[in-house]
């Protein structure tokens, strides 16, 4: 029988978790139990503002002819830069495209692998990442078993697992189910999957719907890719989102009705959110990794 720990106590069943998400979306004060967690101090930190020049690049859409589509994901393994590394737009087919790039002088690939697994175990772990817009997180009991299994490497813990996050990407609080995948399952050519082209990866397919879901609410799909590689100034993080696409047996498929485009507000909102949450990440991950890194329990 496994010991009951904070990491296992956080588990809710599906209906109880779903019922709790509206309350989570209001970002309530920390509970006494959360206050007692050794990483709660991060919740109260001042959140660094992004570089204004960086954020300004998200003010207007980029040229869609320069963007890549999800079936071109392997272009991210090419040396050098793509035409759009920071920007967003509607593609010709109505899908939403986002690119973002940020270099982390003090972050390593090991930190990335650890963080993307570690933060899924408790609401507070997710909330401290970006307190202004992160409401909470849940995984299923089977996913939790895998995350806590010491035999599974950090880089692989999320493969095939779903993070159920409650988050505001500037269009109101949503419940987003992010199905993390292995690089192979998202479509990367594994014969090219090596340094210096790639050092770490986190990505998959998401479904987002407002926490105030009604019968007519739209549950919106998106493909998400965070890929990391070494850079002279540290670790380079390149993000891509393709909103309106879902993965169907590993193949990206546009899933918008004819004539429908992903709303501009949703694309720009996610783009700006991405810049802000990963600016916070840049300064916060090295410190929290120094305290808790290399293990799942805290």
């Amino acid at each position: 029988m496994s010991a009951i720990t904070a990491e296992t106590r956080a588990q809710k069943n599906y209906s109880d978790w779903y019922a709790s998400t509206k309350a989570k979306s209001l970002r309530p004060p920390l509970t006494p139990e959360e206050e007692a967690r050794p990483f709660s101090k991060y919740y109260y930190e001042e959140i660094p503002e992004p570089d204004p020049k960086h954020l300004k690049k998200m003010d207007k859409p980029c040229d869609p002819s320069l963007a890549i589509e999800p079936h071109q994901i392997n272009d991210l393994l090419d040396p050098g830069e793509l035409d759009v590394e920071i920007g967003w737009c509607n593609l010709e087919n109505g899908a939403g495209f986002i690119a973002n790039r940020i270099v982390y002088p003090e972050i390593t690939a090991d930190m990335i692998d650890w963080w993307f697994a570690w933060h899924a175990l408790e609401d507070l772990r997710y909330r401290i990442w970006y307190p202004p817009q992160h409401g909470g997180i849940m995984v299923s009991p089977e996913a939790r078993k895998r995350l806590l299994d010491p035999a599974v490497p950090f880089a692989e813990k999320n493969w095939g697992q779903i993070h159920h996050v409650t988050e505001d990407c500037n269009c109101g609080m949503e419940n987003i189910d992010i199905n993390f995948l292995s690089p192979k399952d998202i479509g990367f050519d594994m014969s090219r999957w090596k340094k210096p082209f790639v050092s770490a990866f986190a990505g998959g397919q998401g479904w987002a719907v407002t926490v105030d879901k009604t019968d007519m609410s739209i549950t919106a799909p998106a493909v998400m890719c965070h890929i990391f590689r070494q850079h002279p100034d540290g670790l380079e993080h390149r993000t891509r989102f393709w909103m309106g696409y879902r993965l169907s047996n590993g193949m990206p498929e546009l899933s918008l009705p004819p004539g429908i485009s992903v709303p501009v507000e949703a694309i720009q909102g996610l783009a700006r959110h991405n810049v802000k949450e990963f600016t916070r990440f840049k300064y916060f991950l090295p410190r929290i990794y120094a305290e808790f890194g290399g293990r799942m329990e805290a």
Binding site: N13, Y14, S15, D16, S140, P141, E142, A143, Q161, I162, H164, D177, N179, W207, V209, D215, M216, S217, I218, T219, P221, R246, S248, N249, M251, E253, L254, S255, L256, P257, P258
Partner: protein, 261 residues
């Protein structure tokens, strides 16, 4: 990747099951052939018999009557929408009211996953033995997820329960010729407008429909044995009171010869 729309319907008031199935096959099916649009495959499953809920239930917990399940397969989501919601309403979209009790339809948009079976060819009279995975009895099993179980865990548990059932139901293990999981796609969450159009109020949501093929109706008992073994799987993952299965006869309306054969 193809996407499939499965609609389980019951007959409109005043029709016998035979009248309903005649209309479905010869009128509605013909209209679909005449106005195919982007349908890749269209199969009707005419219900012979079935059971809803469990023997432990005092009464039915939902509508306990289905007369057919139609399966429409499309090459893509966009093809499906262009066919089901054409700019000019199609005859097929207006024909349903003449035979179906539309407000009680159960709609599942699903993606298929083939589940290997140990004996895809019968030992009895297999002919040349080059045709696998066919059968005259198709059982459609609608399994309601237990509300407390995450969707992703539900599928994990179904796989384990299926394995458990196959190990503990020797007759089913011998007789099951083909098994396909029809996994509900989240794209199905966005069918609010269709539900409103058909005045469907809070229809039941099924995350999984499993198709099982057996040689003939004589093997229906193999499915019963399988079901009882599945229900004995120890981890709760399904609401069996809101689950049901249908013994059906498959009627192919549209299916082209595969291009790669």
């Amino acid at each position: 990747m193809p996407i499939k729309l499965m609609a389980a319907s019951r007959r409109r008031p005043g029709l016998t099951r035979s009248e309903y199935q005649r209309y479905l096959e010869f009128y509605h099916g013909t209209i679909a052939r005449q106005e195919r649009l982007k349908i890749s495959t269209y199969v009707q499953n005419h219900v012979i018999d079935g059971a809803f809920g469990t023997l432990a239930d005092e009464t039915h917990q939902q509508v306990a009557n289905r007369d057919a399940v139609v399966e429409l397969v499309f090459d893509s989501f966009r093809d499906m929408i262009e066919t089901l919601e054409p700019a000019v309403p199609s005859a097929a979209s207006q024909d349903g009211k003449f035979f179906a009790d539309e407000c009680n339809n159960i709609i599942v948009m699903a993606e298929e996953e083939e589940v290997p079976v140990p004996n895809p060819i019968p030992a009895f009279n297999p002919g040349l033995g080059i045709v696998q995975g066919v059968g005259g009895l198709k059982v459609l099993q609608y399994i309601m997820r237990d509300d407390s179980v995450f969707r992703e865990d539900y599928l994990i548990h179904w796989r384990k329960a299926h394995q458990h059932a196959m190990e503990n139901a020797p007759y089913a293990r011998e007789q099951l010729r083909r098994c396909v999981m029809n996994k509900r796609s989240r794209i199905n969450d966005n069918d609010g407008a269709a539900r409103a159009h058909f005045k469907m109020v809070d229809p039941p949501v099924y995350d999984l429909v499993v198709s099982h093929w057996f040689d003939t109706i004589e093997q229906a008992g193999a499915f019963r044995q399988y079901l009882e073994a599945m229900q004995s799987y120890p981890a709760p993952f399904a609401n069996w009171s809101k689950s049901f299965y249908l013994y059906t006869r498959q009627v192919v309306i549209i299916r082209d010869t595969p291009q790669d054969v």
